[in-house]
């Protein structure tokens, strides 16, 4: 009833014997025989051959393989003519024609991609995804209604005398302290021309040098730069530069003159405290701690910072350096403010 074209057809005992010999241990005797001889062998007399072990191993191996790889079937399917295809064949159905047989075998077995090597297996319909939908993808072109053209330098041969002198002074100021007279000249010139400050070659990177050598000039210049959109860069350089008497002086003066961003002041205080803590030289440390204490007291007294914001940090600092008189003083100031704080409003009200 069923016609399994893909199954290996039943084989005769002689063939089976030959195969088992071939797979297990072929005897030399075997190779001397012709196919016809082998097929005509009387295998009933041979000792029992057993390929079940082999079959078991095969089944085992196949079970490890994914189902898909076992699903293929041969592509060549027999389709015997039910009616004669030429006069020669009339009345002789099923007769083997050796010529046709040979041709068929050749065309199926030979060639680059021989049909017998093909197989066929169930295949998914794999849908390609739709094209991506974008509402605004193409490049729309709008004319540019502006003419961007090269500019003339209007400052040519204008007021260069003051600029040159000022710049000379500034480059000196980066290297060493200016005389009082020089300082005054510089400040006067800056006073005269509002925009001159932008021409003196002070970049944020050069600010520390100026602060160390000429703190007074630095303060004046920074005050004039307050309008610049680069001022935060100057500030951040100032905060992060090495702590010193001069830098503290500059910051202190700035706090009294303009309103600085509070995060900037906090950062500076933290920087000062950590510098004090990490410094090795005992003498220098004492000196710096005193400086910081005085600086903080002045900030607190002038109400430039809110004590609450830095209370814990400063308190720890005071305790660490309690051996120093100024630290103890700062500590007392903190305590008095802290204890006064809750009753602050009622006392103020009664007064």
């Amino acid at each position: 009833q069923f016609d399994l074209h893909w199954a290996i057809p039943a084989i005769s005992p002689a063939e089976r014997y030959f195969l088992s010999q071939l797979i297990s241990s072929p005897t030399k005797e075997m190779f001397k025989k012709t196919p016809t001889q082998i097929i005509q062998l009387d295998v009933s007399s041979m000792q029992n051959f057993d390929v079940s072990g082999l079959q078991l191993a095969l089944a085992e191996r196949q079970s490890e393989m994914p189902a898909q790889s076992k699903s293929a079937m041969p592509c060549v399917v027999p389709d015997r003519d039910t009616k004669p295809s030429s006069f020669d064949h009339f009345g002789k159905p099923g007769v083997i024609n050796p010529d046709v047989q040979r041709q068929t075998i050749e065309s199926l077995l030979t060639g680059n991609k021989a049909p017998v090597e093909n197989c066929m297996m169930p295949e998914f319909i794999r849908l390609a995804p739709p094209l991506h939908i974008a509402e605004d993808e193409l490049c729309w072109m709008n004319p540019v209604d502006m003419d961007y053209s090269v500019a003339w330098d209007t400052t040519m041969c204008v007021s260069s005398s003051a600029g040159v002198e000022i710049r000379r002074l500034m480059s000196k100021a980066f290297k060493g302290a200016l005389t009082l007279q020089q300082q005054q000249q510089l400040l006067d010139e800056l006073e005269k021309d509002n925009k001159l400050v932008y021409h003196i070659g002070l970049t944020p990177a050069k600010l520390p040098d100026l602060v160390e050598n000429n703190p007074l000039v630095a303060i004046e210049v920074l005050l004039r730069l307050m309008q610049s959109n680069q001022i935060t860069e100057y500030f951040s350089v100032l905060v992060n530069m090495e702590m010193s008497l001069h830098s503290m002086e500059v910051v202190n003066r700035l706090t009294t003159a303009v309103e600085l961003p509070s995060e900037f002041i906090h950062l500076y205080i933290s920087n000062c405290i950590s510098t004090c803590e990490t410094i090795r030289d005992r003498y220098l440390q004492n000196r710096l701690v005193r400086l910081v204490c005085v600086f903080l007291q002045s900030l607190i007294r002038n109400k430039i910072i809110d004590v609450k914001d830095i209370f814990i940090e400063v308190q720890a600092f005071c305790i660490e350096f309690s051996r120093i008189r100024e630290a103890a003083g700062l500590f007392r100031l903190l305590k008095s403010l802290d204890s006064a704080d809750p009753q602050n409003t009622p006392t103020a009200a009664t007064r």
Binding site: F124, R126, S161
Partner: protein, 681 residues
């Protein structure tokens, strides 16, 4: 600075000479200006400013034809002034600001926007002390450059800044008068134009509408305004109106800024037709724009023949060619015409210029996909069905049929995938690029522990993703682009037999929060196919349940498409949605395809009864002509179970040309005993 010799004092006569030169320059008398400058430079040969202005005057005198020389002069001036524009951290001296500005202008015209921006950013730190006219020019150019580099938010920020500071009229005139906060009247329209361009790029339509209205009330005849308005209507979906607006402008050939109007006109018409899904008309207009562009360049080149390099073209026309933008538009248009190979050729060139555009990489991949599979109805074509049975050999008792090995073709592409070719290998590469260019998937990012979940996470989503030469992508567009990329990636991985990767992409796709119906459907199919290949057939069978297919729409449901819907005008959405047909078109067919795949999965697992049943049901609904795969599976099921006669019926009915053997029904009653020797003969 220390090394430089101080300049000699400026004498009164030199001052006089300088101011004369300047007034001649202002009067556009460049010839006399040049001769004055020659006198001045003879007296002050070491003064960089004099050298600079001399170069400027000569450049103007030449009619901007000597760009190369001007650049050389400029770099000499830099040496004289000890300025190193490229390497300096920032501007050291405001005196050098003009040099910076001019350098940026040249770079702008050479379309080196990033480099120009770099220089102007340095200059901008010193914007306050700048002389007013220069400050204005610099801010304008800065805005333009931000727009050129598709950074509309930054451009908008700069416009706002400029409005507040640089362009407030008479800011030095004294603070008492209170009208100072008003923007200088003369600059108002320009600022308004910039704002409109920013808003268009950001696609915030509501504010844009307001801005355009005021523009139209004041300068309705301005070409730039009309084009912006048309662009606006186009973005809102009023394509007819947009087209009308474009038509209302007389197309003179070139604008003052050296732009070729016919190119823009045709290009924009192409864009409009694309959105009207009239792709062939769109392609026609793009082609025309292309020709106009070529012609314009040729004209200029002819003028420049005897000159070297950049010189010979005016500064404005150096960067005029829109070659790559047009290639980009054309490529996308051709893809939507279904012409994968020409589209591929266009886009593969465009991507070399716009390589930061993730969507462009996806389009390239789509070209590759389409080149290998024109559309999903391809399986139904006769030529595909003819592959089911390839022919026969022999005759009489020896006659054999040769079945086809299936539609799937694994032909490894020659060469490496790095060499662009319309292959799946190259597509995989493109998709990888596309995915890398997107910001991190919020889904995978979420796995990292975040403490406050709601407020913070919104911000990274708000960032626009650049997609040059188109407008940058908004968050929703990024999300939908990601889905498309993942779907394409899964598909391509399947085609490359990389099932692990396909599974990964499909899973990732299905996890995305906003999927279209079609994407969810495809995600399931891809995942199932990968699972079958990885021997997880039970899981696949669950996924392929046709009852699960409830929606295959290509767009997200309208009401769900996030908040910017509210920004869009309700009146204005003529036609939106898909521009290219996709099959399956209806739910029935989609279900049938899923069911066919289900049959396949069953067949692979050896459950032939279930496979046959599903195949039968599917074939009745999938629509005719049936896909070739169905014949394959039908023959497979019949042959594997030994129903040779049944198979013969199918073969005779559908592939009658390969066999002379009719199946007579009575043959069924006759016990057809299989003879053992048939298979080996």
């Amino acid at each position: 600075m220390e090394t430089s010799m101080p300049l000699p004092q400026v004498t009164e006569s030199q001052k006089e000479l300088a101011s004369q030169a300047m007034s001649e320059f202002d009067k556009k008398q460049y010839g006399s200006c040049c001769s004055l400058m020659h006198k001045l430079i003879a007296q002050r040969p070491t003064d960089p400013k004099v050298a600079h202005n001399k170069a400027v005057a000569e450049f103007f005198q030449s009619g901007f034809l000597t760009t190369d020389e001007f650049r050389q002069q400029l770099s000499k001036v830099c040496q004289m002034a000890h300025v190193n524009i490229d390497n300096s951290e920032s501007l050291e001296d405001v005196d050098h600001s003009v040099i910076y500005f001019n350098q940026a202008v040249i770079l702008y015209h050479l379309r080196q926007y990033k480099a120009a921006l770099n220089i102007l950013d340095k200059l901008f730190q010193y914007i306050e002390p700048l002389e007013e006219a220069l400050a204005k020019k610099a801010t304008m150019l800065l805005v333009e450059l931000y727009l050129c580099t598709y950074q509309p938010e930054k451009a908008m920020g700069m416009v706002h800044y400029a409005e507040k500071t640089v362009f407030t009229a008479g800011k030095n005139a004294g603070e008492k008068e209170n009208k100072e906060d008003q923007v200088d009247e003369a600059w108002k329209p320009k600022i308004s134009l910039y704002k409109t361009r920013c808003l268009l790029m950001m696609k915030s339509m509501k504010s844009c509408k307001r801005e355009i209205k005021s523009l139209m009330s004041t300068q309705a005849m301005n070409t730039a305004v009309i084009y912006l308005k048309s662009n606006f209507e186009h973005l809102r979906g009023n394509h007819k109106k947009a087209m009308k607006m474009l038509g209302s402008v007389s197309t003179s050939d070139f604008t003052e800024a050296g732009e070729c109007m016919p190119v823009m006109y045709n290009n924009n018409l192409g864009c409009i037709h694309f959105h009207l899904s009239k792709h062939h008309l769109g392609a026609f207009h793009f082609r025309k724009a292309f020709q106009e562009n070529e012609n314009a360049i040729k004209d200029i080149k002819r003028g420049a023949e005897h000159n070297k390099n950049l010189s010979g073209k005016t500064l404005n026309s150096i960067g005029m060619s829109r070659h790559f933008e047009l290639l980009y538009n054309m490529g996308i248009q051709l893809l939507h015409c279904g012409k994968a190979m020409p589209a591929f050729d266009c886009l593969v060139e465009a991507v070399q210029v716009f390589r930061s555009n993730p969507r462009l990489w996806l389009r390239l991949a789509e070209c590759c996909i389409m080149a290998n599979r024109q559309n999903n109805d391809e399986d139904r074509k006769l030529e595909k069905r003819l592959e089911v049975i390839q022919g026969s050999d022999g005759s009489g008792i020896h006659r054999k049929l040769r079945l086809g090995p299936g539609l799937k073709k694994d032909n490894p592409s020659p060469g490496t995938p790095a060499i662009p070719a319309a292959t799946h290998e190259f597509a995989a590469l493109c998709l990888k690029n596309a995915l890398h260019l997107l910001p991190e998937d919020p889904l995978t990012a979420e796995k990292v522990p975040i403490e406050d979940s709601d407020t913070v996470k919104i911000t990274p989503e708000m960032v626009l993703v650049p997609a040059p030469p188109g407008n940058p992508l908004k968050a929703a567009e990024v999300a939908s682009l990601r889905c498309s990329i993942l779907a394409a990636s899964a598909y391509v991985a399947l085609c490359l037999n990389d099932y692990t990767l396909a599974l990964l992409h499909a899973e990732n796709l299905l996890k995305q929060p906003k999927l279209t119906g079609a994407q969810r459907y495809l995600g399931h199919l891809y995942m199932a196919e990968a699972q079958v290949a990885m021997d997880k057939i039970a899981d696949a069978i669950q996924l392929l349940n046709p009852e699960l297919v409830v929606d295959i729409s290509l767009t997200l449901p309208e009401n769900k498409t996030e908040q910017d819907k509210s920004e869009r005008d309700p009146e204005a959405s003529e036609s939106k949605g898909y521009f290219y047909p996709w099959s399956p078109k209806d739910l029935t067919r989609a279900k049938a395809i899923a069911q066919y795949d289900l049959a396949t999965a069953h067949a692979i697992r050896g459950e032939y009864d279930k496979a046959g049943q599903n195949l039968g049901e599917s074939s009745s609904r999938i629509g005719t002509p049936l896909p070739a795969q169905m014949y394959f599976l039908k023959l497979y099921l019949d042959l594997i179970e030994g129903r040779r006669n049944m198979a013969q019926v199918v073969i005779k009915d559908h592939f009658g040309h390969v066999t002379p053997n009719r199946v007579e029904m009575k043959m069924n009653s006759k016990p057809g005993v299989p003879r053992p020797d048939t298979a080996v003969s």
